[in-house]
Amino acid sequence: MVSGSRLERLLRQGEFVVCGEMSPPQGADKAPILKKCEYFRGYVDAVNLTDNQTAIVRMSSIMSSVFAIEGGCEPIMQMTCRDRNRLAQQSDLLGAYAAGIRNVLCLTGDYQTFGNQGDAKGVFDLDSVQLIHTVADMNSGRLLSGDELKPPPAFFIGGAANPFAEPLEMRIIRLEKKVAAGAHFIQTQPVFDWPKFEKWMSAVRDAGLDQRVFIIVGVMPVRSVKALLYMRDEVPGMSISEECIKRMESAQDPKEEGVKMCVETMQRLRETPGVRGIHIMPVMWESITPRLVEEAGLLPRPEPLPVEEETTAEPAETS
C-alpha cells in the first residue's frame, strides 16, 4: 500500500474499479463541481479532474480536486507538463497532498495550439515519464534536486497510455518505461475499436505489464454519430471502427444506442483478462454515469476494507 487511497485499496483487494471524469468549470464558482459530484458519488470509486484539457483554461485541477473531496468524491488529480516547470509541479504536488489529494495522474498534456490560448508558451520542462519518476522520488522522500523532503507525500501514481496509436511496439516500450519510472496505475483512451484494443492488450499481457501495474481502460458514451466522426477526424490518436460509426448512423435513437454501446464495451472489458477497472469519460454528459454503471451490473460499489498496518507490499507482488 502506498497512499491508502480508496482507489488503491480497492485495486489491491482485487475489485474491478470504476472511475469517472469531469472537467472543472470555466468560471469562478465551485457549484458546478459540487453538482457533478452528485452524479458520481456512490456510483464510481474515484473521479478524474482534468488539468486544462485540450489546452482550454478552466479552474485548476488542484482546487477542483479539493472541491470534489468536499462533494464526497475521491479525486484523481491530473497534472500536465504543458503549463508548469519542475519547480511549480513539485510545489503543487506538495500542496495537493496536504489538501488531502492522494491520486495523481501524470500527463504530458495537449499542445497549447489546440485550445483557446494558441499564442501561449508551452513549458514541457519534464515529460510524463519524467514526471512519474519525480512523483515516485517525492514519495521516497527526495525532490528532483536530491534535497530531502520531510515529511514526504504518498501519492498513488497514474500514467496514461494510448492503445490505438502506432507503432504498437513503441507504445509498449513507453508503457514499460512508465511502469519502471514508478506508475501504479494506467488509464487509457476510450475504446471504440475493439480489435485494435485486443491487440494492444495481448501485447501488454505478453510483456507481463498487467501483473506490474493496474490497467484501467477508458470508455465513452456518445450522443450522436457526429461526435464519433469528430473524434475520428479531429482528435489525433483516436481510432473509431467503421462498425461503431455504422451502428450509430443506423440507430433510431442515437442517444440510447450510444448508452447501449458503452454498456456493452464495459461488460466486455470486465471479462478481458488483465483489465482491472474502467474509466468512464462522459464528456459534458456526467448525468449519464449512474445509468451506465447500473446497466453494466457494477452496482453497488464495494467498500474498501480497513487498511492493515503491515501491508506495505509493492504492486508487483500483490497483483
Binding site: 536530491g146 494510448n162 514499460e176
Partner: protein, 147 residues
C-alpha cells in the same frame, strides 16, 4: 569518460575562442545532418540518430499519444512524428533495445553548449554505438562556464 577527455574538455572550456570554434564545428555538423536543436546533452546515439528535441513537446522518452495513423505529428500534420521516425530507423538499424533507455530531465543549463565537451567532461551520457543497452550512472558535475 576518461582522464584524457576530461583534460581536453577542461582545457577547451578555459579558452573561450577555442570553445566557440568547437561549438561552431559541432553545430555545422550536427544541425545540418541531424537537425540538432542544441540541447547540449545529446541522445542521438540512443535514438537511432534522429534528434528527439525536434518534437514540439520535446518528448525524450517516447511518443505522445497523438501520433496520427499515417505517422504524422498531431501538432503539425504536414510533418512526420519524430518518434515514428526514430522507431522506424531503430528497427532498420536493429537498435530498438536502445529506445528502452530512460532519459533524465533535460539540464537547461547545458542548452546551447557543446555536447561533445559535456560528454568529454562526463556531464552527460557518453556516445553509445553498441546495439545493446548499457546502464550508466553519471556523477553530478558543474555546468560548463558561459561567456
Amino acid at each position: 569518460m576518461s582522464k584524457l577527455t576530461e583534460a581536453i574538455a577542461e582545457f577547451t572550456e578555459r579558452h573561450p575562442t577555442l570553445y566557440r570554434c568547437v561549438l561552431f564545428g559541432e553545430n555545422v555538423f550536427k544541425k545540418a545532418i541531424f537537425g540538432c536543436q542544441d540541447c547540449g546533452q545529446c541522445v542521438l546515439s540512443y535514438n537511432a540518430f534522429v534528434c528527439c528535441m525536434r518534437c514540439p513537446k520535446q518528448m525524450r522518452n517516447g511518443p505522445c499519444g497523438g501520433t496520427r495513423p499515417n505517422g504524422r505529428c498531431e501538432v503539425y500534420p504536414n510533418r512526420p512524428c519524430i518518434w515514428w521516425l526514430i522507431y522506424k530507423r531503430a528497427k532498420w538499424m536493429g537498435r530498438v533495445a536502445k529506445l528502452k533507455k530512460y532519459h533524465v530531465p533535460v539540464d537547461r543549463r547545458l542548452e546551447h553548449t557543446s555536447a561533445w565537451m559535456n560528454m568529454f567532461a562526463g556531464r552527460i551520457l557518453p556516445l553509445d554505438l553498441s546495439k545493446e543497452l548499457r546502464e550508466i550512472e553519471l556523477p553530478k558535475k558543474d555546468p560548463p562556464p558561459k561567456w
